[in-house]
Subunit: 363 residues, 2 copies
């Protein structure tokens, strides 16, 4: 036994964590036996196991994760990098993801990138360094280095909240563009012709981009000019949604329907609309995207695109576990598209036959 270690044990520093060796000594067995006892109990006799467990409890032993990972070359840890924890967009999906992982004895490490590809790259690096066996990522926009990193380390990963069949990369989610187009068509069907959108910054956010593209698709289908579509980009937050709404409302071409890139923005828009004395949907229609909890508590309830959060999370977890276990060999697993549907509430109505001057003016 090394001297330093010996000294430590003699002086009995209570503070330092006991090691496998301490346990072994206490139980009167070798470290190998203790290790087996913890990782493959069936390979150890009843009697010894009892002894070892006793020693473990007595000493309050907890294995050192780093050492274990180092030796075993696998951590049973997955990582997830989401753009933000601030609002609930990803919370439910992540929860499902984590529950499914837990079933498989896997721990989840979460970090958030604040919608910045650079930051995300850093996080990927950090998670890999920490030994993440596999990664959950949101959307397709990231630095080439990020992909290179993933590739070169051979880290299984799936991309959620977005899907792109043209890319040979397993993703699991829904078609943002199609979903938003569907909603936009409903709006057009209700007679609206003056649309506007409040979106998250499109740069580095393929979901936002796709959603905008979706309304453009619908516009084109109705022979309207996409160039006329006002799009305000602003980070997801209630107050930003409110401000953007006001800008739109005060502009020359006041829209009759405002499509928001997500429910948080829409909630902001809605409350500002109310503050401005507007009735929704009689005076103006507002829609969201995501169908998170706040969509149903604002009033009027938000008509929005329902995203299969939990399903995405669960499937992503299963896929990732399978990939980690090598069930797909070298070929990437197939992507999985889940349907997004419209949840009808009350914030969207038919366009009003009205004189613009009936509306409250703000000058």
């Amino acid at each position: 036994m090394p001297e330093e270690k010996l000294r430590r044990q003699q002086s009995g520093r209570a503070n330092a964590s006991p090691t496998l060796e301490d346990v072994a000594q206490r139980a009167g067995v070798s470290t190998a036996t203790v290790s087996r006892c913890l990782n493959a109990p069936e390979r150890v006799s009843e009697a010894t196991r009892k002894q070892v467990l006793e020693a473990v409890n007595l000493l309050g032993y907890a294995p050192n994760f780093g050492a274990r990972a180092l030796a075993a070359k696998r951590t049973d840890t997955f990582g997830a990098i989401i753009p933000t924890m601030e609002n609930a967009i990803f919370a439910r999906g992540l929860q499902a993801f984590q529950e499914e992982l837990e079933q498989n004895g896997i721990t989840l490490l979460v970090s958030s990138s604040s919608y910045s590809p650079q930051l995300e790259e850093k996080q990927i690096r950090a998670l890999i360094a920490r030994g993440a066996d596999a990664l959950l990522l949101i959307g397709h926009d990231r630095t080439p280095q990020s992909y290179a990193l993933l590739e070169s380390k051979g880290i299984p990963h799936v991309i959620a909240w977005s899907i792109d069949h043209s890319i040979p990369r397993t993703s699991i989610g829904f078609d943002n563009r199609k979903a938003m187009r569907m909603l936009a068509e409903e709006i057009l069907k209700l007679g609206h012709r003056e649309l506007a959108v409040i979106s998250a910054p499109q740069d580095g956010n393929d979901r936002a981009r796709e959603r905008c593209q979706g309304v453009i698709d619908a516009l084109i289908q109705y022979d309207l000019n996409p160039a006329d579509l006002p799009i305000i980009e602003t980070p997801y937050s209630i107050s930003n949604g409110a401000d953007a709404f006001q800008t739109l409302f005060q502009s020359r071409n006041r829209p009759t329907a405002v499509l928001c890139g997500n429910d948080v923005l829409a909630a902001g828009a809605l409350s500002r609309a109310r503050e401005l004395g507007l009735r929704v949907p009689e005076d103006i229609s507002i829609t969201g995207f995501d169908d998170i909890e706040i969509a149903q508590i604002v009033s009027p309830g938000l008509t929005t695109v329902h995203v299969p959060h939990r399903k995405m999370g669960m499937h992503a977890a299963r896929l990732l576990v399978a990939m980690r276990n090598g069930e797909y060999g070298e070929t990437p697993a197939e992507s999985l598209e889940l349907p997004a549907t419209i949840t009808w509430r009350d914030s969207l109505g038919p366009v009003a036959l009205r004189e613009t001057k009936d509306l409250p003016q703000d000058r």
Copy 2:
């Protein structure tokens, strides 16, 4: 050089991560130099440093965290265990916490305990095993084993979102009881005498318990019988808040004011009230707690207790960093109490002079 390693390098498995040694070899220096280059650049000459960095980039080297932690005995990683990520209660505080840590080059690991002390104990163990240098915990209720663990490993930790001067343990937060009492007094001052509360389950949640106690305190001050106070316990969620509200509303002693244990519950109560055809606050008053974003977007806006989320997070981080750096020696750092205030919006009003039969009945 060990054989296995040699073989690997010869066969050139591109997949495995390059190690310090690979970099060293490539740069033609020793591993020690590479290590220093990364951890204490000033101790290496300009020229070598350049060479090494080049090799690092070329190889896409990223240090193995576990190995580093094992050798250096510190991880620059803090952990935080919050009860839930599902709603936004802890999001803002956590964000501030994390921002402050980042300033100090510390990475944050987050996990959630679902309000279960048992689960929390597991998480503490996991975080410690992962080498967390320090921990942020919420509230005082946890298993004795959890505390024992923290104690025996000598892990610096602070408790946030709650404060208890009677316990020799550093906490940083506000006085839940006092805050709720303050709110309840305002309600009583407005003439309400029939109060009710919708709380989170009090077991294992000292914040919930303290808040309930706070309204009891106020009741006593007004010579009212606390035994008459209906308290419904239900997990934080909008729909639970709604259901609880309905139960209360349908009970014999219909309250004139409902105090909710947090804003999420209150938002649910509010929306159900509206569904039941009640006007808030004319027919019934509803209050929240936390002052998270949804408090201002529901209508009417929620009168609620404003909790200094960001301040708590930031101070907790600073304190923890100081503790980790040994600035407090053996004595625990002092607790810090921050003030909680009332944010007045529109969901609380004076008690109505009214006949009960004027209200919509639900039978």
